[in-house]
Amino acid sequence: MTVVKGEPAREGADGTGDMTRGGPDGDGYVPSERRLARERHRRARARRATAIAALSTLVTAALLYLVVVNAPGWPRTKETFLSAHYAREAFPKVLEGLWLNLRLLLVCGAAVLVLGMLIAIARTLRGPVFFPLRVLAAAYTDFFRGLPLIINLLIVVLGVPALRLQGVTVDPVLLGGTALTLTYSAYVAEVFRAGIESVHPSQRAAARSLGLTSRQALRHVVLPQAVRRQVPPLLNDLVSLQKDTGLVSIGGAVDAVRAADIIVGRSLNYTPYIVAGLVFVALTIPMTRFTDWVTARMDRRRVQGGSL
């Protein structure tokens, strides 16, 4: 809808842009009758498109509303999923649980980035002496990317304490965070590796020919380009991690979803789940906008030298 609305407007803007470029002094230019007519026509089309889009949206919304509200099960569905009473009760508890999700996200997110980068570098190291390191890194990513997260969590959260090792924590949150880091660093390592491999070999060759050592070439030439390219997929994984932090509740920790679970179990009313779901969405949206902003900024920087 926005596209339809925007297109004619943008075209109009381009037109005026051309005109100012045509006459930088701004004197003496009088748009021709034909041009004025064309612009009038375009404005009319744009108005018409907006009106039709608005009407169609309104009709669709009204129809959807009627379909849902007139469904035979609507009163009970409304009571079960959209009860204001339970929403009010659940909201503070869900927020309390969300604090755990947020802390896990920050700590695990940082750990995942560091570990993922190290694994990616290990995997892309050249030279026969690094062969065992490459194999280990490849085995790590293969294993932890394939292992379902929930099973990884079960093993780490419930299995590790069973060993009764001295000095190893039994805290389900710390253990759960470890499991999350293990799985997500495998994903992120692959993202970084793809980034590193996407840097053209000529870049490395050029760096080496300028006298940089292999390590310097990696640090100053390859990695900056690789990381910048991979920011959107990285943030994608971060959003995904944010939602998966809730799985640590397997060890008994009360996160946002488990907090909702508790109220649902007692009342047999699903509204708390809806509340928890919306809270997660509300948390994800700023992150998605942030991703968009970062990407847009990168694009702007890349074309700074001027684009053709």
Binding site: V67, R76, I250
Partner: protein, 294 residues
């Protein structure tokens, strides 16, 4: 470029989609005429073996999978062994359905009370009756008076607890959606946030791993866990019923189900003629000897 001609086509498409949704969404669902049937004379609708069940001539009973002991045996609800399996078959018999007419169905706890058309006639899954839950489902009358108990590893500090005040300092755990958890939050009010597990299995592991000091479950489950599953754990004690009223397990039926009154009548009859007491004696350990925590 002329984008305008595309717009009406999109509008048409949107309206078509909406209309299709209307057509599909409004197709009448096979809603039960629950209100009509249940308002009719109870005696007539409770005719033996001729209830308005999901499948005519069959009684569909639901429980979660896996089905835990001592409520079921060997995870096979259909074998008639274990307390709830025996109760289910006794209720079925009372309603006029013999063993071959009973169909078991595995329904997760969360799904058993979802609104919408139910796939079972009643659900038996250690569900405690409460006024709050009655807003979402129908319950039969209670078939078992349940008490909550605390289990802890032998020899630990938790095992020495003699009162609710002693429990307050401990890290407690319970399964989500259970009254056991309500006892922790409402009665014990521990200093540290209680661990809440998705399943009792995870609570048991956490107890073994010393991630929690003590776990609260219903008393028969506590007996089973300490006797068969975590043998180095013991029952610390049981709670008195909160607010004096006894907590009861009930059979879960769809809200407004036509069968509720019949099933309730069957459970009441089984209680009166001593069948429930006999089944309880056969399958559940004698619960008297657990000390009461005050």
């Amino acid at each position: 470029m002329h984008p305008a001609p595309r717009t009406p086509r999109r509008a048409v498409a949107a309206v078509t989609v909406a209309l299709l949704a209307t057509a599909v969404g409004c197709a009448p669902q096979p809603e039960e005429e629950a209100a009509a049937t249940s308002s009719g004379p109870a005696a007539k609708s409770c005719a033996k073996g001729k209830l308005a069940t999901k499948e005519t001539g069959k009684l569909t009973i639901a429980t979660d999978e896996p089905a835990y002991e001592p409520w079921f045996k060997d995870d096979k609800p259909a074998n008639g062994q274990g307390f709830e399996s025996a109760v289910a078959y006794a209720v079925a018999k009372r309603l006029g359905y013999d063993k071959s007419a009973v169909v078991w169905q595995s329904v997760p706890f969360n799904k058993a009370f979802a609104p919408g058309v139910k796939s079972f006639d009643f659900d038996i899954n250690q569900v405690s009756i409460s006024d709050e839950r009655k807003k979402a489902v129908d319950f039969s009358s209670g078939y078992y008076d349940v008490r909550q108990a605390v289990i802890a590893l032998k020899g630990g500090t938790a095992a020495k607890a003699r009162s609710i005040a002693d429990l307050r300092k401990l890290k407690l755990g319970a399964q989500v959606g259970t009254t056991s958890l309500d006892y922790i939050t409402d009665l014990v009010k521990p200093a540290r946030q209680a661990a809440v597990f998705g399943k009792n299995d995870q609570a048991k592991s956490a107890l073994k791993n010393r991630q929690v000091d003590a776990v609260v479950t219903d008393l028969p489950t506590a007996f089973y866990i300490t006797a068969a599953e975590v043998t180095d754990a013991e029952i610390v004690g049981q709670f008195e019923n909160q607010g004096g009223a006894s907590e009861q397990f009930g059979l879960v039926l769809d809200k407004g189900s036509a069968l509720t009154s019949c099933v309730t009548a069957a459970v009441d009859a089984l209680r009166e003629d001593g069948t429930l007491a006999r089944i309880e004696k056969q399958w559940l350990s004698d619960a008297v000897d657990a000390p009461v925590l005050k």
